[in-house]
Every structure is written in C-alpha cells, then in structure tokens.
Symmetry: C2
Subunit: 131 residues, 2 copies
DNA sequence: TGTAATGTTTCCAGTAACTGGAAGGTCAAG
DNA sequence: CTTGACCTTCCAGTTACTGGAAACATTACA
C-alpha cells in the first residue's frame, strides 16, 4: 500500500508518516520503484501512533508501547512492568478528562455569559477544587 | 506568589510558565522588584494548562478553553458552541483511552513473552478491530 | 554587616515533533 | 504521449518548549 493510502487509513499526514520512519518508529518495505509499501501491520502501528500521540503520550512513550508488541525477546516481567506504568497514566488521564468534561458540561448548562470573577469554573477545570 | 512557588503548585516548570506568558496565555502582576507575582487565579490557569496540554489539547485549544472563562463579553451561544465541540473531543479521547487500557490489561494478563506475529494486540491498540 | 547560596530577570540558542515547499522521478487516464 | 496526481529526497520554517549565560534580588548564616 502506498503512503497516501496509509495516510488515509491512519489519519496521519504523509509528512508525519515519513518523519516517523526517519526517527525509526516504523520500517515499511520499498517497492521496486522506490515507493514505500505499507502492510496492514504498518497501518495498525500508524493508527496506534495517531491515537496515542493525540492522547498526550510522547513519541518516546509511543516507541515503548510499540516495543511491547514488537520486542518478542523482551522478558515478560519487563513487558508487564511497562504496561502497568502506562495503565496508571491512562487511569489518571481518564479521570482528568472526566473532570474537564464535568466542568464544560456545567459551563454549557449554567454559565450563560454572565460569569463573574468569582465563577468557580476555573477552580474546577484546574482540578484544585472538589469537582 | 513567586514563579517557583507557582511552578510547584501547577506542576509546570518556570521556563514553561514564562513561555506561556510570552505567547499571551497569562499576564501575572509584577512586584516592585520586577518579579512575577502569581495570584491563585493565575495558578488555577497554570494547573489547567498543565492538565489539558497533557491530555493532547494544543496550546491554541487551551487558549480557547481559557477564553471561555475569561471573555465575559462573549455571547452565550459562542461559549456553548465551543464547549460542546470540546465535549465531543473529550468523549472521543476517553473512549480511546479506555480501549488502550483494555489492550494493555490484556497484555499484562495474557501475553507473557510469547507473542507471535499474529498476536492481536496491535489490532486492538490501533482501534481497527472490535476491542 | 558581609558574603554565599538561592531565586529571579532577560536573552539567545537548541531540541522535539512536526510542516511546507522546491525539484524531480513514477504512474494511470485520456 | 502528455497531463495530472502521487511519490521521492532535501532543506527550511513552526510550535512548544528547554537549557544556559549574565546580571540583579533575596535569604540565610557567620
């Protein structure tokens, strides 16, 4: 599959896909004409990168997560340890998103342009009050 | 409150806090000695920025979200419309995090170093299978 | 009260993660 | 057989920080 097709399927621009190859996240085959040739597995990885980057994981974290799948030599305990660390981060991110969701719902429901300086929205948004 | 203190309370490095001021996200007072002086409201905003940046919102999106609070002149319908758009994104992010969570839990529970090339983990991670 | 450590300032340069554009090769359609 | 869409590499620009230097402010302690 050519890069344009992989781009559509993954949601990542071709530029970004080439960049990910440059930094060694992905090594697609090359066709005889020099074009990159993406397998379904490559596309899965790209889609995964598209998602996890959008969720605030750094490229290096994504590299670790991909390695969980790719590094078949890695000891089981290592895999589990990294996965558990990421699971904690994911829990935290979900909680924070829920609080933000709550706050915005409140904003939509109750604040109709007449916010005063003491509007408690920001306290809630910032997670410093009991939202 | 000095920048070091604001840094501790918000979780953002002083460098980043100054950068956010440079790009106009925040305008703390200045003390007589020239030091930045952060109010509790400023700290709330910083903490909010720390969170929402970590959740994959761009600086411009954060600016919009902060503006929901700050721009008291903005019409109610505008506020609600922006908030609703963000709420949809938040829903999506939460779903994606849940899927990633699911996949990693599966990895911790079942894949003990013997993943074969056909291991369905990546399909799940990338959200292209029914996870 | 001196002085050393710590904290703050600005400025400028470097990094991470893209993003845009030029110059040129490839391919499918008419 | 050429036009247009797609691909290649390379190099420069952008976003969002991050590190370091030089100088001024504050605090801590003998």
């Amino acid at each position: 599959m050519n890069i344009g097709n992989a781009s559509e399927k993954s949601g990542l621009p071709p530029k970004t896909i080439r960049y990910y190859e440059d930094i060694g996240l992905l090594k697609p085959d090359r066709a005889d004409n020099g074009y990159r040739d993406y397998s379904m597995s490559d596309v899965h990885k790209l889609k995964f990168l598209q998602r996890s980057r959008g969720l605030g994981f750094s490229v290096e974290e994504c590299r670790q997560l991909l390695a969980l799948y790719e590094d078949k030599e890695r000891a089981s305990s290592d895999v589990k340890s990294i996965a558990r660390t990421k699971l904690k981060e994911i829990d935290r991110k979900i909680s924070e998103l829920r609080e933000l969701q709550h706050t915005l719902q409140h904003l939509v429901a109750h604040c109709h342009g007449d916010q005063r300086p003491d509007c408690p929205i920001l306290e809630n948004i910032s997670g410093t009050a009991d939202a």
